[in-house]
Amino acid sequence: MTQNAFICPVCNSLCDEHFHTQICPCCKTSFHHKKKLSLTKSYVFLSTAVCCYIPANMLPVMQTNLFGNTQNNTIMSGIIDFWLSGSYGIAAIIFIASVFIPCFKFLVLFFLLLSTKYQSQTGKSTRTKLYFFIDQIGYWSMLDVIVVAVISASIQFKSLSTVIPDYGILFFAAMVIFTMLATICYDPYLIWKDIES
């Protein structure tokens, strides 16, 4: 004789599954319809993020006015400046945070959504691990936003030199937030769903 149970992800207590009501007796959280409209929400957030990523790269992220010399900096020009000035490590960090991670997340999420739609049977555990990986690294893309904010806040010498953040960074931050929302909305259970049915 065995007893069926599940572990509540909120309070970690072992709950009986007697009446097929997946409600935790300890914290009263219901897990019956865990993530409603998971796929649709994920699609919407992902496509919004991709739309934001284009202006984020085309528009300047900050306008520097150093000693009367005005210059518009985009994300890529910032990375190239670091590379040419010899700071290869920092150029690599910014490249990974603001170009590699967002593109990698787009590709992985798109791949996950497509494979869920066509109910692919191969590489299920790899796909689940990939999902948890992009869930962990996603927020590091916000790095560029804080770099622009610190530089703009530090260089405020009235008439001499000023740095003003530009609209590119607004789209970039929106892109990061929408990708994070798309990742959170995606339910990794969907990868395994057909096993149950």
Binding site: T2, I7, V10, N12, I90, V145, A149, S154, Y167, M180
Partner: protein, 209 residues
């Protein structure tokens, strides 16, 4: 606990497992998808967690009140605090970004810290705090959105970039932020689930009366 074997399934891939007791500090993971199945019910050390949360709160206050960077340029100098950095976007039509960065770098870490302090204050007296479920859900919800470590790396990179043409000195806030990052990581590592087994505050007071 039932004397019969308990069957349970992975919350992610629904593989079947039999519940087994695990040693303190360990966690059981699904063999197929590496999802956490359950953790051991080891209580966080109350003599360690409450002081940790209080220290983190004091350091948070230092981060907010002291400048993160000192910038010198010939005779003029400038300082930047965390609030100035986060609200720099407010000057143009980028107010949503200013609000977002204030939330991500100031409000969310603060809310997380307040929840930790509230929970650990009551757990120090072996009680479950009022509104425990709400606090636990809030901590889990805020975890991906509290970006202190990103801010630390961002300040470091911006400092290096600025040092090419300006004189830069890290302020008290910068060091405090580094400490806050470590303390928040330590707090996030605590096994909060075990605190569910503490008696509720109301039931304790009823017993006494």
């Amino acid at each position: 606990m039932s004397p019969y074997p308990v069957n349970m399934h992975c919350p992610c891939c629904r593989s079947q497992y039999t519940y087994k007791h695990i040693a303190k500090g360990e966690e059981a993971r699904c063999r197929q998808c590496m999802c956490v199945l359950y953790r051991s019910q080891q209580m966080p050390n109350k003599h360690y967690c409450l002081p940790l949360a209080l220290t983190a709160f004091i350091i948070f206050w230092i981060v907010q009140t002291h400048p993160v960077l000192y910038v010198h340029f010939h005779a003029s100098h400038n300082t930047a605090t965390m609030l100035q950095i986060s609200s720099i976007f407010a000057q143009q039509a980028m107010l949503p970004l200013a609000i977002t960065s204030v939330l991500l770098f100031i409000i969310f870490p603060l809310l997380q810290l307040l929840c930790f302090m509230w929970i650990f204050f009551f757990s120090y007296f072996n009680q479950r705090s009022p509104g425990f479920l709400g606090c636990m859900k809030l901590i889990n919800l805020l975890r991906p959105w509290s970006m202190i470590e990103v801010a630390v790396l961002g300040i470091l990179i911006a400092g290096i970039k600025l040092s090419h043409f300006l004189e830069i000195a890290p302020g008290t806030g910068c060091w405090a932020m580094l400490a806050l990052m470590l303390l928040l990581t330590l707090l996030n590592q605590q096994n909060m689930h075990a605190l569910w087994h503490l008696p509720e505050k109301s039931s304790v007071s009823k017993d006494i009366s």
